[in-house]
């Protein structure tokens, strides 16, 4: 208390014209700022130990040959060799990288459209809405890369055909795919499309969180906007394009970021499994694995920055 008093006096002495309230308010503000610093710097400490240090180390690994013996790490500098190897010598990496990135991009587009559509529908008032929502958020809880992975391997097992047992009906588009391929003279773009169709149930299963985010955003839109639009004679279609879409645009960016980070922990991401296996599997090449992870991270970051940069011009913030 004494220090508080003395502080108040010195402050009052410096600025005698200030009303009496200000020093106390300033006191509280300063105390609050310090409290905020204590909490957040605690997090920053964890960031330095568990994120920043490993990140820096993995960058060093990426440029060297890592040899581990009895827990001791020896780094033999290689320069850019690991990166050169990834693009010139490794037969698996580049196709996996291209596949994984096209899958992520196709997923982002499909998931965004699908989840926005479903969210707009689920936001209407109708009977049985609670039940429907429970069903639609089911994937949020139960979905896991591991589960999808296990079920997928069942489909590739030929048992499905032999015993007349049905696998995933969504995946049985083989004939359709071959038809399209012959029609377009083996165009690779068709494969992207048919793969997306094959993964329809996966995409629907992956959209749970995104639907949630969109619904949360839709509910934040003031009904007054729609009412006044209706009074002015706007149709539902016009209201969607002029009100819903601009108001929901910030969430599209959040969903984009979420979809990408979600794919990082997805066990179905073959590239990530490959990166993990180069380090911990048979190859035990830690430096190379780090280099591959950095290439993937760099490409994803560039894509993220570009898309957010492009979208941010179109994003509409109500408060600005």
């Amino acid at each position: 208390m004494e220090t508080n008093n003395s502080e108040r006096k010195t402050r009052a002495g410096k600025a005698p014209k200030m009303p009496k309230k200000t020093p106390r308010a300033g006191e509280l503000l300063r105390r609050k700022a310090n409290a905020g610093r204590i909490i957040t710097y605690f997090w920053v400490l964890g960031f330095l130990i568990f994120i920043a240090t490993p990140l820096f180390q993995s960058l060093r690994y990426a440029f060297s040959n890592v040899q581990i013996s009895l827990g001791n790490v020896n780094l033999i500098p290689l320069g850019l060799d690991n990166f050169v190897k990834a693009f010139t010598l490794d037969a698996e990496f580049v196709p996996l990288l291209i596949d994984s990135i096209t899958v992520i991009i196709v997923d982002i587009v499909l998931i965004t459209f699908f989840s926005l559509f479903i969210a707009v529908m689920l936001n209407r008032k109708f009977k049985g809405r609670a039940l429907l929502r429970a069903v639609f958020f089911l994937p949020v809880i139960i979905t896991s890369g591991a589960l999808v992975y296990v079920m997928q391997s069942d489909v590739s097992a030929q048992f499905a055909g032999e015993a007349g047992q049905q696998g995933m009906p969504m995946l049985q588009t083989v004939d359709f795919k071959e038809m399209l391929l012959t029609l377009t003279n083996n165009n690779r773009a068709v494969l992207v499309l048919t793969d997306a169709i094959d993964r329809v149930y996966q995409i629907i299963w992956k959209s749970g969180v995104q639907i949630l985010l969109f619904i949360a955003g839709l509910q934040a839109i003031s009904p007054a906007l729609y009412e006044s639009a209706e009074v002015e004679g706007s149709t539902g279609w016009e209201s969607f394009w002029k009100i819903t879409l601009p108001m929901i645009s910030p969430i599209i960016v959040i969903n984009l970021v979420y979809t990408i980070i979600d794919s990082f922990t997805d066990y179905n991401n073959e590239l990530l499994r490959y990166i993990q296996s180069t380090a911990f599997g048979s190859m035990l090449d830690f430096g190379y694995s780090a280099a591959l992870a950095w290439i993937f991270f760099a490409i994803i970051s560039i894509f993220l920055l570009l898309s957010v940069g492009l979208l941010s011009r179109k994003i509409f913030y109500l408060n600005d």
């Binding site: 609050k32 310090n34 957040t40 089911l138 139960i142 896991s144 949360a216 922990t265």
Partner: protein
């Protein structure tokens, strides 16, 4: 006004009736369209669950019988009994539960406090620090998994343990690699959790806190007595998400829990476990057994969802995850 309407109606009664009929039929078509759409998508969403549970109780005879698709003729729970032993369910469950449970509790406690720190306290470098939180969200865990692995293999901070215990600690095959980061608000998708809490606290009225301060309660007390109890929806959301994601996460668990496998790790290798333990490679036995294993792993989550579903749906909608 009413009179005018009455007059108008009496003048053109047939037109009016037509209009309502058209409106009604349009509404019905609309309803039919959405009913069909939602039934279709709902089927896709529930399909895997039905598939898992119906397949898991099939006997080998049912698997070979082409007329049996959904309802098994000779349902058997022997698959469950077998797989229970094959995947060593009790101990796997304990491993998973100890990771998911402890980390979730820590996430709730630490991330909520950090989110509150970012939401309600103003200081100059806040913006930069929050940008760091967002940055952690987009780092693939695989990028730092190896240095982290080595870090936990020779765990030592500034040589303290080396000096006092005469050697660094080995945290491999323990749950410490999951818990230690969580203590500092780091770990699987914690950036998102901090973000959710920050948004929620930002949306709460400032008057709540001010009332606390005026009544002479300190910052910590205000937080625990006023802010946290009013943020229950955010706590339920983050709690459920964190628990479920740690339940089904594979990469990190496979890395650290090599000798004490968790449920998700068992799930990935379930087919191998079944064939090795039962010495049967016949798919008419392996497939139902596999789905019995899948069912055992996701059953606790389904129960959890059925209990918390109502809270969860409401809470996410209200938590204002959205900026």
């Amino acid at each position: 006004m009413k009179k005018l309407q009455n007059i108008a109606n009496s003048l053109k009664p047939s037109d009016h009736k037509k209009a309502t009929l058209a409106k009604k039929s349009r509404k019905f078509i609309y309803w039919l369209f959405f009913a069909m759409l939602f039934c279709g998508i709902g089927y896709i969403l529930i399909y895997p669950l039905i598939f898992i549970f119906t397949t898991s109780i099939k006997s080998p005879g049912d698997m070979l019988d082409t007329t049996t698709i959904w309802v098994a003729k000779n349902p058997t729970f022997a698959n469950y009994k077998d797989v229970w032993g094959f995947i060593d369910y009790p101990s796997s469950l304990i491993n998973t539960l100890s990771i998911a449970g402890i980390v979730t509790a820590l996430n709730l406690f630490v991330c909520s406090a950090v989110g509150y720190g970012f939401a309600r306290f103003k200081f100059r470098e806040r913006g930069i620090l929050f940008a760091l939180v967002i940055f952690t969200m987009i780092i693939p865990p695989q990028l730092i998994s190896l240095p982290q692995y080595l870090f936990f293999l020779n765990f030592d901070i500034l040589g303290i343990f080396n000096a006092t215990l005469g050697g660094s600690l080995n945290f491999n095959n323990s749950i410490a690699p999951f818990i230690l980061p969580a203590v500092f608000g780091q770990g699987l998708k914690t950036g998102l959790f901090i973000y959710i809490f920050r948004q929620f606290y930002r949306g709460m009225p400032v008057e709540l806190e001010e009332a606390g301060y005026i009544d002479g309660s300190g910052i910590i007390r205000t937080y625990f007595r006023i802010m946290a109890p009013n943020a229950v929806p955010a706590f339920i959301t983050v709690g459920l998400l964190s628990f479920v994601w740690h339940w089904s996460e594979v990469f990190n668990q496979a890395q650290y829990m090599n000798e004490s496998p968790t449920l998700s790790m068992r799930l990935i290798g379930v087919v191998g476990l079944i064939t090795r333990n039962s010495q049967v490679t016949d798919l008419s036995y392996v497939t139902p057994a596999k789905y019995a294993g899948v069912a055992l792993v996701i059953l606790p989550l389904i129960v959890l969802y059925l209990i918390g579903q109502r809270f969860f749906v409401q809470s996410v909608e209200r938590s204002g995850i959205v900026g």
